[in-house]
């Protein structure tokens, strides 16, 4: 019962992260702020949802596979975010206008 409640709270929080991130993608206007919002899904959202699923299903071979998926997401998601920001920094000639700190 307690486990189920904790799992439900975790999955709900993960879904909330996804919703916040999607709203952020639409509301922000610049690439770097947008990927800042989009990266929430890759890390915090997947972590909470996968932990909730593991708690619901109990620990076993399935949860090891889920943890592998989580590791893959955590390796690839930030790297893709880094790639997008790198392209923006390289190609935007008016990059300094968007960043107050130089």
């Amino acid at each position: 019962m307690i486990l189920n409640t904790v799992a439900a709270v975790l999955i709900g929080f993960g879904t909330l992260c996804c919703v916040i991130s999607i709203i952020g993608i639409y509301r922000f206007d610049y690439v770097l702020t947008r990927i800042h919002a989009a990266a929430i899904v890759d890390t915090l959202g997947t972590l909470c949802i996968f932990l909730g699923i593991i708690l619901l299903k109990g620990f076993g071979w399935g949860s090891i596979k889920i943890l592998l998926i989580l590791a893959f997401q955590w390796i690839t998601g930030p790297v893709s975010t880094h790639r997008i920001s790198r392209v923006e920094v390289i190609t935007n000639p008016y990059f300094d206008e968007h960043c107050e700190v130089k």
């Binding site: 709203i23 639409y26 509301r27 922000f28 206007d29 390796i75 690839t76 790297v79 880094h82 790639r83 790198r86 920094v89 390289i90 190609t91």
Partner: protein, 305 residues
């Protein structure tokens, strides 16, 4: 019909700052104005404009007519389809039952989906592989760098982009590629070779291998990939895989329709070397898919392999 007020308010709120970006900018108009002036400057513009307008009108009307003809043909075909979920329907009782009950004995793979798509419906999957081949060929035709398609300006832009790319360090992606690339290739090969035992098969494994090659191209540059996957290797692998698949599927159809004995052994169900032609077909399809994915990527990015 006008959207209700609350919907517009919600849209406004969701759009946020991004709304400002969508408003048309002032200098766009001046650019089109200047291009129009340049176009008008050389040659009799009036005749050309009327002719191009005529051509565009004819093509638009013919496109609409084509769409209508296709629509009519398709609706006509739908009307002749057998109704679903009736007792007398063939698909409801005979085909599916035979696939499930005798698929493993007749073909030998424990993965029934692989049985169906690669042997019973093998000709159809061969058509899908041809679609991949044709797609890659069309992309090459449209985007390849040749003397008609590339100007000195394009080459200069490409050089500038390469220089900028090399100037800023890329260590994060290189380190991650060192970890991920072997895992991706191994997993892709596993899915390819286990297509007749577990879910997966040529399309899934091939796209994994293609993704791994795209990752390698991103991290180490195109010259590194060219050392093992250049122009010659690409064409050899792509055409070879398709021809191999065609030969296998033709042999299977010929043997099956004439009641001859198939030389490919079925083996014991569940072992790696079993299920006759499914394993080689899976490998051929996987190579085809991997080549297509990598070719799409490179031709869209730089116009050459």
């Amino acid at each position: 019909m006008k959207a209700p007020k609350w919907y517009r308010k919600l849209e406004q709120w969701v759009e946020g700052d991004a709304r400002d970006l969508k408003e048309p900018k002032a200098h766009d108009e001046s650019i089109t104005e200047s291009t129009r002036k340049i176009e008008n400057h050389n040659g009799p513009s009036l005749i050309r404009a009327s002719r191009s307008e005529l051509i565009s009108a004819v093509s638009r009307i013919s496109a609409v007519i084509c769409c209508f003809v296709l629509l009519v043909v398709m609706m006509f075909t739908v009307a002749f389809m057998p109704t679903t979920s009736t007792e007398s329907n063939v698909t409801m009782n005979e085909t599916a039952k035979r696939y499930i009950e005798q698929g493993m004995d007749e073909v030998g793979a424990t993965n029934l989906v692989a049985n169906i798509i690669l042997v019973y419906r093998g000709f159809d999957t061969y058509g899908e592989s041809c679609v991949l081949f044709l797609g890659a060929t069309a992309v090459i035709m449209l985007l390849a760098n040749d003397r008609k398609n590339e100007t000195e300006k394009d080459r200069a832009a490409q050089r500038l982009s390469d220089k900028l790319d090399a100037k800023i360090p890329n260590q994060v992606l290189v380190d991650v590629t060192k970890v991920l690339m072997p895992v991706l290739l191994l997993y892709g090969a596993y899915i390819l070779c286990n297509g007749h035992l577990s879910p997966g098969g040529g399309f899934a494994g091939g796209s994994l291998i293609g993704g791994a090659m795209i990752l390698c191209e991103n991290a180490y540059g195109v010259n590194k990939v060219r050392t093992f996957f250049g122009h010659t290797v690409y064409h050899a692998v792509k055409v070879g895989a398709l021809v191999f698949y065609a030969a296998l599927i033709m042999y299977t159809i010929f043997v099956g329709s004439n009641g001859l004995e198939n030389i490919f052994p079925k083996g014991t169900p569940g072992s790696l070397l079993s299920a006759g032609i499914i394993l080689p077909i899976n490998i051929a399809v996987g190579l085809e898919v991997a080549c297509t994915m990598y070719a799409f990527y490179t031709y869209f990015v730089r116009g050459e392999l």
